[in-house]
Amino acid sequence: MIKRVWKVIEQFHFLLFCLLVLSLPLILRRFEAGDYYLSVLVLAGISSIVVIGLNLLMGYAGQISLGHAAFFGLGAYSSGIVTIRYGLSPWLGFALSIGLNAVVAYILAEPILKLKGHYLAMATLGLGMIFLTLFSNLAITGGSEGLSVAKLSILGYVLNSRELKEVNYYYFTWSIALLLMHLALNLVNSRVGRALRAIHASEIAAHSIGVDIAKFKTQVFVISAVYAGVAGSIFAHYSTFLCPPDFGLTQSIRLLTMGVIGGMSSIWGAVLGAAILTMLPQLLDVFAEYDILVYGLVLILAIIFMPQGMSQKISLGWEKLTGQGSQGS
């Protein structure tokens, strides 16, 4: 009997996760938890989206990026500029955010992904710096004074205003996050996902049996930039104020840490890591300005004690619990 329950859970784990996400606001209300918790969960959803893309790039294809905040920022500013500076529909902002990130990533991919290891890390680090400088100095981004962004409205109904704003935005963010998660889960269990992992494991072998490495690296770089861009747009309309430091090196490292904590070569790991590292600081409020130290410490401990990330520990625990370790899944 209990075996059957495990099996059902295993087979429908994504569906069950969707149900959990959908019912969380109701559960929170039951415990009379305030909007504050929902706002943390919204931010967790936004980070999840970026980290899923980052994990496709780093965990699966093995290409490091220390500058992903650049794409997150590019998406956020696209939305901000389209809606505020030009007064156009936020959906146009989303479209531009996706399009611009795809184009920029496509142009950058060719030269950048020729580099390997430390050199690639340096190049992406530089990329992040360049974008941060642009965000801080261009007139159109409002420079270091920041940029106000309109709230998101659907057919005249403003999503995040009045008393339901957190719940509305929670559902909006997480529907997109779940959709993108679903696509990514499909992707990694396919011919493309295998090719990405093959490139990670041995470029020379992948090359010699016919994988067009440059093409796959470019495509996954574009996808991960688009994920970051979508998250940036959602973030822009949620925070309604953009300032450059949100899209700097600290942000890139934060996103990277989420991936490492959750597990780089796992889509679930991305969501797990994003959730943990978004909630953790709220609990670690006491550390105030030392939070970056705590991040560093958490990162080091994670690499030492669970290099495959938390998601792997959990799936090992699950196999032990259900007694099917030998079969694998």
Binding site: V192, R197, S202, G210, V211
Partner: protein, 268 residues
Amino acid sequence: MLAAVEPLLEVRGLSKNFGGVQAIQDLSFIVKPKSIKGFIGPNGAGKTTVYNVISGIIPPTCGQIYFQGQKITGLKPYRIAELGLVRTFQNIQLFHTMTVLENVMMGRHIRSRSGFFASSLRLPAMRAEERRIREQALETLAFVGLQDKAQAAASSLPLGHQRLLEIARALATEPKLILLDEPAAGLNTRETSQLAELIFQIRNRGIALMIVEHDMELVMDVSDEIMVLEYGRKIAEDIPRNIQSDPKVIAAYLGEMETQSDAEAQEY
């Protein structure tokens, strides 16, 4: 009247310099369809370099390579693999983070087409293709005798099986020619004779092979023709029986033994 068989692979005047070192000098040879060509020579003769140039990993300094009449010099390795020319590696190059089955499924990569779009949406055509990839990979695994290991991690296999897996992955690409680089290195006698059997079975499928190997018994046993390389130059090319008695070949190998015993003598 015999019609001239068009060569499957034709190498013309191939040279490769690394700085001042001439690793390959003016090498020309052909591989006929469905034939097995042994490729031997003392250590450092340049055999692996020849493979690296043919498979497109490094460009030649000069010379031309034709595969099925088409010039492949300068093509990217993945394009050469698509045309039906694949190789294995002396230091085995498996996808160690993947299962045995997934490694062979990677061999089907160039014979399938689902991209990012179809894969992330799991379109019906993609799912059907995925099933086919899996079935064909399982068939290939059974062909080399590794079907029981399908779900094992590639890195967990013993060396002999890893070599077989690399061959299976190459076979899954539906090649016309496989370049094997020391397939018997590290294998015991029993495994080596099984490998010889497998090589014949591969040829019976209509696939030509070229084999770099130091196990002379194996090379003499399976090859239709053997080419000998010394210091990047071809010093002999003939049927195995003649190679065994070729004074130049004997000198090349005796020379190697002499320098080896010299080195040993110096140690004492």
